[in-house]
Structure formats: structure tokens, C-alpha cells
Amino acid sequence: MLRVKNLTKVYEDGTVALKDVSFEVPAGEFVAVIGLSGSGKSTLLRCINRLIEPTSGEIWWDDVALSHITGEELRRARRRIGMIFQHFNLVDRSSVLRNVLSGRLGYVNPLASLLGRFPEADVARAYASLDRVGIRDKALNRADELSGGQRQRVGIARALMQEPEMILADEPVASLDPALAHSIMRHLQTINREDKITVLCSLHFLDLVQQYGTRAIALNAGELVFDGRPAEIDDQKFIDIYGREAERIG
């Protein structure tokens, strides 16, 4: 169960990216986070794993105060939260395998990992993860030799290495064409259903939200303006979320 209470984020330049946001996500849900660009979706997701420091408010994951832990405790919490990015954020010059193995860094012996050594079990796990997303044969390629869809699958494999209880996906399909987008979304859906991993996924297109989300929350200028099932988003709600000028296409 993820609980966000009165979360506010004010950036150093005074931008209020999140304003008193509160919601709860029971374990196992697939939550679509929607809103215009600049509405605070990335900020919200990054506050949860503390890539960004919240200004005030609380974030709880079961009985761990994600918003307030530091140091070792924070690292132990982070390793249970996978993250997937719009621009994949792979290390281009490293091999696919090494990129995937880096998902394991929170678990392994730090000294050994600095020497580039991973336990055999983890290497096997890396191959299994790549197998799951269908690119096992690319393991030894350099990451920058892969196409966009393949790169995002490496990103998913990396997140899987963490044996996560929750995955944060920040517009994972925004840089992919629609066919690829569905394939990536289906992978996320499978992970959500089979592994019982909670997914928070920010999305642009309403049809994706309707198709994959079991739940949707919407942000507008940092404020939570919707929290419910995707099917409940009617024309009025749509205007609340996207504003009057937007045209409904999904």
C-alpha cells in the first residue's frame, strides 16, 4: 500500500510543482498518472523514490516512511522500487548485460561490484529478465546499438533485476511509435499481473490509460484533480484535467 499525504514540492526557483497532493494505492494496482506536460507527473514519481526531495508532506510504503528515510535505509527502500524512463536512461557505452546487471547494485557486495563482478545467480537472473522481454540475444551488444523499443525493454529488464514491489514508469512510451508503445505497455501489464508488482505509470494518451490502467490519477498544475477508474473520465472530467482547449481524441 502506497500512501501519499499532503505532498508538496517547491523547486528552488519557486516553481510549485506539487500542491498538497494526497492519494492511496493498494498493492497490485496499475495506476496511470495523467496530466498536461508540466503538471508535475515526473516530480511526483521522483518524489516517491526520492530522486527529488519533497518539500513537505509524507510518503509511506507499507510501514516505511519513504519521504523521511536517509542513507542506508533509503538505499534499501530504493532497491525495491524499479524505475523506467522516457529516454530509457541506459548507459550507452556499456553492454546490455551490464546495464541490466546494474539493476542489482543495491543487493550485491559493493566492493565486488566495483570490480565488475556479480554472483553467478545474478548473471543468470539477468539473462532470464532479458528473456522475459524477448531480447536475450542482444545481451552482449552495446546498448547504443539497439532500437528504441529494444532499449526500453532493457530498461524493463533492469527494473526487474531489482525484484521490485513497485515500478515507477515516467512516460515509458512517449518516445516510441504506437505499435511499440503497446508492446511495452503489455510487458508492464504482464509484470503487474503475474508478479503482483504495483505500477505507477505516467501516460500521455487516454486510450493507453483506458486500456492498461486499473486506476487513474490526474494532475493539473501540481494539484490532484482526479482519482478513480479510467472509465470514469467523461468529457467534463477531461476538461478539468486537460483544460478547455484540448480536444478529446482517445
Partner: protein, 608 residues
């Protein structure tokens, strides 16, 4: 409309004022630089210049064998009552010496020649009576029609009743027989320079890499820790350093001495033990639940490794000194092994000390984190203040100690003797620190990273600002004239320069991977190795080559103040006005720089 017009007119005025200011500055500059065009135009100066350029244009590259033809003409010392000229003819050549006698070294002599081949050249050699050596007294070169006139004086006067012999040696042919001594010396020294630059660049690069991380803003700004962690790290650092250094020295002593055979057996035993420690009880790489046992095994493995390195070092010393007299031409290999082993033994305690400091600081940081989390607010605050007093005192003591050490070298004499006084001052500063810490909250995160970043950056900038020549003076005084001094200066300058360049590269990396690896729960060091290093390695290699090229140039300058290499040889040659020799060296430097420049550019374009 009017406003813009006014603005434009204002602009014109401004430009005029700036121009006037620039002109004034220029006028003052002319006065300061003492521009005087008369002096360079003086004939004496021009003669000197021409002479210099002519010598530079004839680099002393080869040794020659000459085919010659000699004619003797006689000379009298002192002059008889009626001085005359001597004349001599042979094979169409006519030579006249007039007068044919001298009394003093000031008396002028004139030698004319006719009927020589066009442009023939040669020298006039005096055979002083009763001496086995000869002296060259003049050179001649015939014009296009085979005539010449040379005026000269005798360098010395030996009075004899007999005629004295002047030999006119005409150069018929010059054959190159090999490279000149200058060329050999130059090759030797330029090789030394290249090697100095190479060593400085490699060592400088290796040391600059970790430093550059400390000087990269994007890596350091979010390094924060609570005050308790910071202070514990400061307090434990010297203990860790001392422990690491001392333990290593002790291990090295235990490994030293004894026969080579004993050493070999020891080495085998150590390797065996190491294997046992590594294999026994699961892989060391696994995150075993028995953390303490795991840590103990790592420690044991580390100690065994250090001891093994000590044994290897001593074996290397033995091997090197055994090999050197036996290898003949390859003796430098033996010497290399010896020097490397020596370096290993010398530097091991230092690096172990550094590792000790790092380990202790990391331990302190973690311990502090735990304490901050576990202790109640009141207890935490108390601990924080107590630790701040001790930590600040330790830090101040270290600073004062360093300052005092510098003063003991005689840089400043006013500093009082070390000891209790230092301790007292440190404690006082510690108490002040404790009072200031009253305002802190135990859970407050101190931006340690930013402080380290600022400190490292300014140190690097400071080091870069010091002229290498000045550093050269210091190290020549310290370690003596020679390539070692030059190499040390180059290393320091390389670290400063590369540290800055590298850190700028680090600041320019793509942030995405950094974010992604951080999100997996990796610690700081892991994040750097997995997300930063792969992005910067090619740039670092390229810069290291670029630095090699710079170091070659810089070492010639440092050589001028005694830093060894070609610079030192060049300085000697110019001081002795041996410009033909200097010319060879200048050419060699230019060639090496051009080649390295080209190679490093090629490598850079290939890598990046």
C-alpha cells in the same frame, strides 16, 4: 523615436571614449615596454644576429671525414728587421702571406690565395714549435673565381730563430661518416624527455581521475550527511590512515629480509592462504547474511594481499639487482624491475594509509547515520555537540600540524614550536565549533559534498596557477638537478590540469543513467563506476594523450631550471653559445612535438 536617436548618439560617444581610453593605454604600454627601434638596427647587433642565425641554420647533425690537400708556408716570430711576404705556388694555386712575421698577438696577417677552385674552402693551421698539438688560426673560402683574402692574428707568440710552419689545408671533399656526438646526446635526452612526459602523464591521469570526481559539481552537490556522521568521519580518518600505514609498514618489514628462496616459498604460502580465504565458506562476492564473518574474510584477504605484495617487492629488488649485471644491453630491464619494486615498497604504506582513511571515513559516516536514526533527539543533540568539539579539534590540529611542518622547513620562522600549544589552540577552536553546533539539528543534512567540491576546485585552480618553472626550482632544490625533479613537477601539473579537465567532462555527462542507477539503490561509488565512468573513459584517454604532448613541451621548459631531459641539455648548449648544437635540440623538440601532436589528435578522433 527621439529616445532611440538619443540612445544612438550616446552609443557613439561611448565608443569614442572607449577608443580614447584604449589609445591612452596603448601609449602607456609603449613607454613601459621601452620600445626603441634604434638598438636592434645597430650594425653590431645585426652582425650578432646574422652569426646566430647562421649557426642555427647549420645544425651539428653529422660527423665528417675530410679529404684534404695541404701546403706549408712559413712564418717568423719575432719579425726580422725587414719583414717580407712569403709566397708559394703549387698546381696553379698561388698563396701569399704578408707580412710573414709577427711580434705580438695583435699584429695583423693577411693571406691571399689565387687559382683555387671556385668556392673552395679550408683552414689555416699553425704548428707551434716544440708542441705536438696544432691550432687552427683562420678559415678561408674562395669566391666564384677562386680567390680569397683572409686577415687574422696569431693566438699566441712563441719566439724561435727557425721558421715556423703554417699549414694551409684545402678541403677537397667532405663525407658523412655518421651521426655527430650532439645528435647522439640529443636522441638520448629527447628519449628521456619523452619518457618523463609519459610517466608524468600516466601517473597524473591515474591520480587525477578520483580527484576529478571530487571536483565535479553534479556528483558532489547531493552528498550530504548529518553532523554526527561528518564529525565521526573526521575523527576516524587519522586513525584509519595511521592504522593502514602502520600495519602495512609492519607487514612489509615482516616480508623483508631473508633469501630469495625463502621469499619464493613465502609467496607460494601466501597465495595458497589467499585461495583458502577466498574459497572457504562461499564466494566473497555474495551478500552473505553473516556480515561480520564476511568482513573478517575481506580484511584477512587484504592483509594477506599486502604481505604478498611486500614479498613480491623484495623479490623484485633481488631479481633486479641480480639481473642488471647479467643482461648486457638489456640491463635497463633489470634496473626497471629494481626501481618498480622499490617504488612498490615505498608507496604501498602511503596508499594503504589512504585506503585506511577512506575506509575509516566511510565507517564513521555509516556509524553516524545509525546513531542519528537510533538515538532520541536529546541524546543525538548531545552526541552531536560532543563529537563536533572533538572533530573540530582534530581537524584544526591537522591543519596546524601541517602549517607547522611547513615552517620547520624554514619558510617562516615566527611559528612557535609544535606540541602542547597546538593542542591547546585546537581544543579551543573545538569548543567554539561545539558552541556553533548548538544551532544545528541532529537530523539536518550538511552539504559536505559542496564544501569538498569548492575546496578541490580551488586547490586545482591554485596549483594550475603556479608556474611550472617555479615548481621546478622548488623540486630541483629538494631532489636535486635531474629528470626526477622534472617528472615530479610534471606530475603535479598534470594532476591539476587533468583534474580540472576531467571534472568538466564529468559535469557534462548525460544525467539520465546517473538517475537510473541511483534509483536502483546503488551507493555513491557504484553509481560513479556504473553510470559515470563508462561515459567518460574515452574522453579521459584522449585527454591523457593530449597531456603527454603538453608534458613534452613543458618538460623542455622545466629542463631549463634543472629538471632534466632535453631542456637541461639545451640550456647548457645555449649557455656555452654552442648554437649549432642547440639547433639540433630545437629541431628534435619540434619534431617530437609535431609527431605527438599528430598522433594524439588521431587517437582522440578515433576514440571519441
Amino acid at each position: 523615436m527621439k529616445e532611440t536617436e538619443n540612445a544612438q548618439r550616446g552609443k557613439g560617444w561611448k565608443t569614442a571614449v572607449y577608443l580614447l581610453l584604449a589609445l591612452l593605454l596603448y601609449a602607456y604600454g609603449v613607454q613601459v615596454t621601452n620600445v626603441n627601434l634604434e638598438e636592434p638596427l645597430e650594425p653590431r647587433r645585426q652582425q650578432n644576429l646574422v652569426g646566430l642565425i647562421r649557426q642555427l641554420a647549420r645544425p651539428d647533425l653529422f660527423s665528417y671525414a675530410n679529404e684534404t690537400r695541404s701546403m706549408d708556408i712559413s712564418l717568423r716570430m719575432p719579425c726580422p728587421d725587414e719583414p717580407k711576404g712569403s709566397q708559394l705556388g703549387s698546381e696553379g694555386r698561388t698563396i701569399v702571406l704578408a707580412p710573414n712575421c709577427v711580434n705580438t698577438t695583435q699584429d695583423p696577417l693577411r693571406l691571399t690565395g689565387e687559382g683555387f677552385p671556385a668556392n673552395a674552402s679550408g683552414v689555416v693551421i699553425w704548428h707551434p714549435p716544440g708542441s705536438t698539438t696544432t691550432r687552427r688560426v683562420a678559415e678561408f673560402r674562395a669566391d666564384g673565381s677562386g680567390n680569397f683574402i683572409v686577415r687574422f692574428t696569431m693566438p699566441d707568440v712563441r719566439e724561435t730563430a727557425d721558421l715556423q710552419r703554417l699549414e694551409i689545408v684545402e678541403l677537397l671533399d667532405r663525407r658523412i661518416t655518421g651521426s655527430s656526438d650532439t645528435l647522439k646526446l640529443t636522441l638520448d635526452r629527447i628519449l628521456e624527455t619523452i619518457l618523463m612526459a609519459f610517466m608524468a602523464s600516466t601517473v597524473g591521469t591515474i591520480l587525477a581521475v578520483p580527484i576529478s570526481f571530487l571536483a565535479a559539481r553534479n556528483l558532489m552537490t547531493d552528498v550530504k550527511m548529518p553532523q554526527i556522521s561528518l564529525m565521526l568521519a573526521v575523527i576516524l580518518a587519522p586513525i584509519g590512515g595511521w592504522l593502514g600505514g602502520w600495519l602495512t609498514r609492519w607487514l612489509l618489514q615482516a616480508a623483508a629480509g631473508g633469501q630469495a628462496l625463502v621469499g619464493l616459498i613465502l609467496l607460494l604460502v601466501v597465495i595458497g592462504l589467499l585461495a583458502v580465504v577466498l574459497r572457504l565458506g562461499g564466494s566473497l562476492l555474495d551478500d552473505s547474511p553473516k556480515r561480520w564473518q564476511q568482513a573478517g574474510r575481506w580484511l584477512l584477504a587484504g592483509l594477506l594481499g599486502l604481505f604478498g605484495l611486500g614479498v613480491v617487492g623484495n623479490l623484485g629488488l633481488d631479481l633486479g639487482s641480480w639481473l642488471t649485471p647479467r643482461l648486457g644491453l638489456l640491463a635497463f630491464v633489470g634496473n626497471f624491475i629494481f626501481v618498480m619494486a622499490d617504488f612498490l615498497l615505498l608507496l604501498l604504506p602511503f596508499f594503504a594509509g589512504l585506503a585506511g582513511v577512506a575506509a575509516a571515513m566511510s565507517l564513521g559516516g555509516r556509524l553516524g547515520q545509525r546513531l542519528t536514526e537510533r538515538l532520541s533527539l536529546g541524546a543525538a543533540k548531545l552526541a552531536m555537540i560532543g563529537l563536533t568539539v572533538v572533530g573540530t579539534a582534530v581537524f584544526t590540529y591537522a591543519l596546524l600540524f601541517a602549517a607547522n611542518w611547513v615552517c620547520l622547513l624554514g619558510v617562516c620562522r615566527w611559528w612557535p614550536e609544535a606540541g602542547q600549544w597546538l593542542l591547546l589552540v585546537s581544543l579551543l577552536v573545538g569548543v567554539v565549533g561545539g558552541v556553533l553546533a548548538l544551532r544545528l539539528q541532529p537530523k539536518q543534512q550538511i552539504a559536505v559534498g559542496t564544501a569538498v567540491y569548492i575546496f578541490t576546485r580551488s586547490t586545482l585552480n591554485g596549483l594550475r596557477a603556479i608556474e611550472p618553472v617555479l615548481m621546478g626550482f622548488v623540486f630541483v632544490v629538494w631532489v636535486g638537478i635531474g629528470p626526477l625533479a622534472g617528472t615530479i613537477v610534471l606530475i603535479i601539473h598534470s594532476i591539476a590540469d587533468l583534474g580540472k579537465l576531467f571534472s568538466e567532462q564529468v559535469e557534462n555527462i548525460a544525467e539520465g543513467p546517473l538517475e537510473a542507477v541511483t534509483a536502483t539503490g546503488a551507493n555513491r561509488l557504484q553509481t560513479i563506476v556504473y553510470a559515470v565512468v563508462p561515459q567518460i573513459v574515452p574522453h579521459f584517454i584522449a585527454f591523457a594523450f593530449y597531456r603527454w604532448d603538453i608534458n613534452v613541451r613543458m618538460s623542455t621548459i622545466i629542463g631549463f631550471v634543472g629538471g632534466g631531459g632535453i631542456g637541461l641539455a639545451l640550456q647548457r648548449a645555449t649557455n656555452l653559445t654552442q648554437y649549432r648544437q642547440a639547433s639540433v635540440m630545437v629541431i628534435a623538440i619540434a619534431l617530437v612535438v609535431i609527431i605527438l601532436d599528430y598522433v594524439s589528435a588521431k587517437i582522440r578522433s578515433r576514440i571519441i
